[in-house]
């Protein structure tokens, strides 16, 4: 019987500890120590989510991201290489989330739960985040049942975030889908629009809870 979770990491200590933590939280997990073994294990039916270490002995882990995504598995990247560019490229290749080593066990569990929940929810017509309900099909946003009027760009940005609630969407992805490929460097557009979205959606725009910033990487819609 294949466990729904798979840990690909070359360090036995990490594998054991992560697996122990997942066990205690009620998740069954398999282990793999190389990229080749990991790909084989991920391919087996029943696997839902892969915790992928980027520093593997036989292959750069980042190359595995699109391969595993192609098997329709969620991917959370574990990385000791914490340069911003690497996180962004993992996310742009389709990774659902990332956790930087050394990580908090609690943080890791929270990300795992969120990723699994998103898989279960599927791409529904209605997305709820806190008091906000987003109806992508009808172009409507409600707070506590009251309709809120958004500009076209504000709605496009919110809808893009709401496509994958809880997941980090990189600046580049957001700018490309909302303003077009010519504006992928205009982070300023994003800042201004996020700010006006917060003014309309957040109870306190100075202490936002709905749209969270990942410094230098992107935004995520908190679910």
């Amino acid at each position: 019987m294949t466990a729904p979770l798979l840990i690909i990491d070359d360090e036995p200590a990490i594998r054991r500890l992560v697996r122990g933590a997942l066990d205690r939280a009620g998740f069954a997990a398999d282990e793999a120590s190389t990229a080749a073994d990991g790909l084989a294990a991920a391919r087996r039916a029943g696997c839902e989510l892969v915790l992928l270490d980027l520093g593997l002995p036989d292959r750069d882990g980042i190359e595995l991201v699109p391969l595993i995504k192609a098997m329709d598995r969620a991917v959370i990247v574990l990385t000791a290489r914490d340069t911003t560019a690497e996180k962004v490229s993992a996310l742009d290749l389709g990774a659902d989330d990332y956790v930087v080593k050394p990580f908090d066990t609690e943080e890791l569990l929270a990300r795992v739960r969120a990723a699994l929940r998103r898989r279960g929810a599927g791409a529904g017509a209605l997305v709820t985040a806190g008091a906000i309900t987003i109806d992508a099909a009808r172009h409507e946003v409600h707070r506590d049942g009251i309709a809120i009027s958004l500009t076209r760009k504000e709605f496009a940005l919110l809808a893009e975030l709401a496509r994958f609630p809880g997941r980090v969407i990189t600046h580049t992805q957001l700018l490309r889908s909302v303003w077009g490929a010519g504006h992928t460097d205009d982070v300023e557009y994003l800042r201004v629009t996020v700010r006006s979205l917060r003014r309309k959606l957040e109870p306190d725009p100075a202490q936002p809870t709905l749209i969270r910033n990942e410094p230098g990487i992107g935004y995520r819609l908190m679910d």
Partner: protein, 929 residues
Amino acid sequence: MAAIFRPVSISYCRNSMPGYCAVRPANTPRATGPIRFGYIGTVINDAAPQPSPDISPRDSRREGRGRLKILLGAAPGVGKTFKMLRDGADLLRTGRDVVVGIVETHGSAETEALAAPFETIAPRTIASGVDTVAELDLDALLARNPQVALIDDLAHNNVAGGRHPKRWQDIDEIRGAGIDVVTTVNIQHVESLGDIVAGFLRIRILETVPDSVFDDAEIEVVDLPPDELIARLQAGKVYLSDDATRANPHFYSKSNLSALRELALRRAAQTVDRQMLDHLRSTGEGGSFSAGVRLIVAIGDQPGSDNLIRAAKRLADALGAQWTAVSVETPRTASLSPAARATLAASLKLATTLGAAIVTVPAPTVMAGLRAMIIESQATAVVIGKSRRSWWFELRHGSVVDALVRDLDGVAVHVVPATMTARHDDTPVKRPWATRGIAFAAATVTLTTVLAWIVAPFTGPNSIDLLYLLPVIATATLFGLRPSLFASLAAALAYNFFFLLPLYTFTIEDPQNMVTLVVLVIVATVASQLTGRLQREATVGVRMANENAALAAFGQRLAAVSDEAGTARIVCDEVGRLLHVSTILLARKDGKLTIAGANPADVVLDPIDHAAADWAFDRGEPAGRDTTTITASDWQFHPLATSMGVLGVIGVGADHGEPVPSDRRLLFTTLIGQAALAHERLRAEADLRELVALKQRDELRATLLSSIGHDLKTPLTAVVAAAEAMATTQRSPEAALLKSEARRLRRVFDNLVEMTRLETGAAGAGMEATDLVDAIGGAVHDLRADLGGHKLVLDVPASLPLVEADPRMLNHILVNLVGNAAKFSAAGTPITIQGRRTASGVTLAVIDAGPGLPPGGADILFERFTRVTGTDMTGGTGLGLAIVKGFATAMGLGVRAGNRTDGDGAMFALDWPETLLRHGPAADTVGAG
């Protein structure tokens, strides 16, 4: 333009104006003779006037320099000093800081009273002969640094021992320091007017001021009608100090004063004209000034050249033209007498002082050299002197004037008559072997006679004459004209005496024999001319070839060495050898100029020589003997100027005369250029070596860094995860302690890695538009587990402008500052993050309610590994604040620490300057609203 040149006084016209000027525009039929024009002004412009796009050099030079006001008078006694003090008093009243640098009151109570309100820089007193002389104390004035300095007598010659030989140079340095200067001068001291004034005053002016000083000055004429001035003189109100007035009792004649007054007014008008042209040029406004006029003056070894140069200077000024003084080095100049050489050198020097560029052209004839120069520099006007040489000399060497007018299309030729003030012997140096030539001629003619005597009975007397060609041609080939003329004469006489009827007399019976004699003389002349010219051309050619070969060898030798000592040795050896001078090379070592090489090796420099060398190094200008600065030095120092700045100075010294004669100056300049290039190459090589070493070190560090990152992080992750696992399963105090210490270990580790990244330069700031609300939200999220019960108060208005920041660096800064505040204040107390728009930008402060910083603690706080004693309750490396400081600096932010003023607690603040704010596109342009 023509108005400036209208001859207004006879003396001006006679002494300075070109006598006539001839021009033949392109594509017009050749005129039979020179066309006469009344005024120079009519021949200037055939090119359309066009504004030059670049800013005039005079304008740019003005920036940062003090302004100069010159009170120009016609003669002593017109009231210049009086006017200067009055002007100064006006400035004083408007609140300007005015001091008197030096004022000569000549004991006049009136002047002294006027000077009384000013602070006066105490003059330097120098013993000179029997009395003491008061000189301007340049250093004291510079140290006092007023806004305006009043300095009398611009043309004053400083007593030896000052920094500069001339007061106008002192004033130049004062203006360089940004101080405005008001000064006075009389018209006869203007350099380019020297010969005009000398012409009607019949004295020589020793104290002169270059015209360039007047170029960017405001000139005000202090005018007094001659009659009033003479009246003042008779009333005893004028102190006669000036050399000019002392030397000439008729100085104050009405006609003299009128002429001087006219000169002064005209000079002032000319400067105003010139400044207006500069203005027009820089603003691009229209106006009919001459564009693209390039003027060449040909300088020879005649004594009249000084007038020629001054005339060229005035013409160039009037035309607003660049001008070049050309000396053509012909085979003839190679054999000039020392006196003629000195004249030429002095002329070239005068031209340099008047602002000309100097070019020496080697060519077979003056005409060829001039023509080459005119074509190469695209000159539009040529000034030459009317030769006073004999018709015979011109016949042999050709008149340059006629040749120029004939050969050059579209070039204006201005001819200035030479005035002969003195005449030196310009015949070529008598060759020591001239007597040997005569002896040779005598011997060969005798030999030929003997030979002819032997063969005559067999051949008859008629073919004997051909034999006499042999000694003539031999002498001409070997010894030149004079001995060969002697040979032809001797041959003719011998032939006549021994072989023509009547025998043994000098009488000639047959007219056919007369022809033989004439032919002998002509053959001698032609042969000697031809061989002589070949010989001299060969000599010049050999010299040029030698110089070129020496330069090439110099370059090659320099390229072969790559150390400073070797380069210095080669430079000194070669310069010394080629120019026959002592040579020294100084380079900067440990902040001091030290001798890097010398030839001869035992050269010793006096303190004054060192001062000159320092000056040359600091200013990038030549200094020392025969320059304008520190002329008391025995050495002449030239900077080795390169694109990397001045890398050293090269000094040359000679026991007598100029260190570098004018005809070797071009060679010397080339040598200096090569030496500078070699030093630049050395410096570049050293820089490269250093760069490679640095790069290797950086690579090593980066490798170390990444291996630390990788090898430490994995076990650390395991430790943290294991500690957390134990804490959740065991719930013992030890497990809780392990968990919190493991987290702390992780934070210290993060800081260490960041610090190393910062130190190695691996962390370059990648700035992007950032919303501080976002940045704080991210940091607070990262910190939520470590706040230890502190209450976080966020006081950041959502309306703050966006700022530029590196997101990762800013996150680290905030995590460290908030973590630090949490560590040093009691649990449960609030920590406030406060953002404010200030007058100078945006400030973000982290404020705690702890005990605050001890007095003086703020200063040392940001040093690496500093922990502030007294507030250190929980330990730590202190690395966090050093990282805050490092990252803030890398991003261009200010960072401050202090105690809050509204109660206990410390405050750390980041300041974004206005330049790092992004006011962002308006919300509606990005589609938000």
